[in-house]
Symmetry: C2
Subunit: 520 residues, 2 copies
Amino acid sequence: MEVMSAENNSCCLNNGDVVEKMKRFGRLTCRKIWKVGKEDKRRVIHSLKVGISLSLVSLLYLMEPLFKGIGENAIWAVMTVVVVLEFTTGATLYKGLNRGLGTLLAGLLAFLIERIANESDHIFHAAFIGTAVFLVGAVTTYMRFFSHIKKNYDYGVVIFLLTFNLITVSSYRVDSVLKIAHERFYTIAIGCGICLLMSLFIFPIWSGEDLHLSTVAKFDGLAKSIEVCINEYFSDGNINQQEEKVKKYSMEMEDPIYKGYKDVLDSKSSDETLALYASWEPRYLRSCSWQQYVKLGTVLRHFGYTIVALHGCLQTEIKTPQSVRVLFKDPCNRLAREVTKTLKELSDSIRNRRKYCSEIPSNHVHEALQDLIDALKSQPRLFLSTNSNTNILLALATLATRQKSGKDFLVSLPSVNNDDPARLGLSHVLKEGDKKILRPTLSKNGITSLEFLEALPFAAFASLLVEIVARLDLVIEQVVELGRVAQFKEYSHDDVVINVSCDNNPRVESEFPSSHTAAD
Amino acid sequence: MEVMSAENNSCCLNNGDVVEKMKRFGRLTCRKIWKVGKEDKRRVIHSLKVGISLSLVSLLYLMEPLFKGIGENAIWAVMTVVVVLEFTTGATLYKGLNRGLGTLLAGLLAFLIERIANESDHIFHAAFIGTAVFLVGAVTTYMRFFSHIKKNYDYGVVIFLLTFNLITVSSYRVDSVLKIAHERFYTIAIGCGICLLMSLFIFPIWSGEDLHLSTVAKFDGLAKSIEVCINEYFSDGNINQQEEKVKKYSMEMEDPIYKGYKDVLDSKSSDETLALYASWEPRYLRSCSWQQYVKLGTVLRHFGYTIVALHGCLQTEIKTPQSVRVLFKDPCNRLAREVTKTLKELSDSIRNRRKYCSEIPSNHVHEALQDLIDALKSQPRLFLSTNSNTNILLALATLATRQKSGKDFLVSLPSVNNDDPARLGLSHVLKEGDKKILRPTLSKNGITSLEFLEALPFAAFASLLVEIVARLDLVIEQVVELGRVAQFKEYSHDDVVINVSCDNNPRVESEFPSSHTAAD
């Protein structure tokens, strides 16, 4: 009895479990559906557009007077809408025009083949059609491997092959095949017309605009990456904490640095697809600015690779002591701040479709770079001996100080500011002579020593920062070129005044929101 | 008269020009056609397969007895072949199965809708169909935005929408629509059958095999990049020559280093497409090894980013003097050689579908890494002063030497071999005392001095080499995992004997050519 009730209980529990699971699944699905729409509201609009277009085109078939005019072939209009109406206007135009062109050419070729085939008897006719189908099929398929055709006309070629086969093969049994083909072309044109109307005039979604916004987002992501990267490198947290953080990030892939640049790294194919579709959109045809966006994307990817390497410096096993990092914290911070500021200015200029004035901000970056280089130069020379195991200078220095003033002293010198401290700095010191140089002090911590090996990671970090500036120049070059090609508005002086203030968030809120420019 | 003859001449010339141009265009086109086929002979095979399939399926329509059995709808088989038969088996299966599933589900839903609609009067029937078309159109289109559906079933969803609309809309006018749908399904199945037959049994082209080979090629490309990179960095050519080379490369994009890694960097989308198709291929379904190839691809991309940064070191404006680079040439060269050797071994093990034995070669790499680290450690400590503008040690050293022996001398010391030269090296020197330390020599070149700034690029280079080794371990991890998941043959000891010989081209020619494994 007890056993049974227990079984009953577990059964009830199982039922409860199943209901609970179903409920949870339902909730998850609802949340997922909501999320997909919330991420990009245009998805909802596009879905409604497809529904409306299909209903509209169905009317051709469903309404008596329209059906009488067009007839059975109205179904081809429905088919066209399903296949051609895509998310963005560019994609719809690409597919629609390719479909139109493919159908037209296939019709012409089929007409030619039929004319030739009709001259012959029945069996030869069949053989002729079979051969034509084989040859056109093989040649057309081979053509799809040409990269230019593959890229721009792949869909058109498939439709060409499809239509050609439909017409040629049908023509063997049906005499009025050209009439049918003519009618179908007519209904396909209606379908294409509805698609173009829907995608060009009702809430149009432009691939070119997507490309534009994704480029802006890339700049923001890269700026964010550099900012976080520098902050983490010079943060005071101890090394173990940082390592744990890095481990955590690598498990969950949520590292904000990685998040900032990951979209840039893998942007090639999405950029190229968007640019392909944009190339069919009327507003981009004239300027060919989509090509420039692709070029800018390539330069940004290479910029991104350097940030990946910079990120790698944070994760390296050999750490440069915090005390050494602190020495260069200010110039590095300043340089990084200037670079991120420039990136944000570039993103703002593209967002607002204004030409970018490359001179003023770029100079700030180069000033900051010069600062960093000066800071690096101000360090004493390195001595590498060719018989690679001597510590001579170290020994010399120590000896010299010992001979003069005992065991544990270090000396300080007036600072030597000079463009070439390696040469002039030395002579300056020597001119000042013995009296000053060896004045003893008691500041034990005045000089930090570290192994060459320990200096490596910092050297790599600094070197990559310098590299980033070099690559930033290439990016600026492409942005200026973009402004020229895409005929952005002239640079106005007001922007500088706002942008030049060097706070942490120098982003200027866009005066011309992108939706405005998208609709014009 | 003269004018006329001159005109005639120019006219003839123009005609000649046109003919010449036409000829040249013809030659170019022929060469292009030849090249596309030569690059990948499977393209020719695929084109012939499509031609043959289309001819076969046309027979359904062209041959009297077959046509009597199947009728008008035979044309749908032709359509299916055009749309479904793709280059690789996986792609054909993906499209064929998606098409089949989409058609089936659409038919069922259409049947359900028709049952409900038939209960009502004519006008309500039309309204009901219109509403159904709108709703199904909108919902289906919205579903295409879910990433999982987009990735795996996008084509199926489009076919579902297409078939549903065709059947539902047609059913309003044609009573026997379900009979037609049934017949069409039948012919579509024939079309799909021919496609599957062609792609599974006649010269099959496997996406999984493409993914496999492209992975192998990536390893070879990366190895090549590192090899050339190191050779160029330590080549004796003067800096100007190198710069010219770099400029030439950047113009023509033919830099062998760039060529080696560029395919790796942008491999994400092609990898994912190949993996998607491979996931539909029967031989990969069981092991899910395609997922592991994608993971390996991700790790290889990150490995590639480090090589990009290494490549950047060659192009940097601040150059480390050749004399300093030479100091570290041997350990760097050895490390790079070991890394490329490991990469080639990895590529061989994947090519031959053998498990990779990670221990032996990896140790060689770590030995070489230790060598480099030792070489770096053997250099004297660096001194960085916190009041950052003093050249104190330099001055001290110079003074000490001046005081003892005049203006232009440098001293050499017996080498100090020790694990911690920073600490022990110093005491060793001090023990030896004054007598040895300040023994003057005349070898001016005994010690190379350089600015910290000049040391940066080399430090970055060395640091990136160390980083490469770290990333190589991650790559090895994934290759071992691949061997496990894809059930590669056990590692045999013979391979090591061949591979371990450390020449420049340690590639073992594959005993099991890939065509063999592809056909089994």
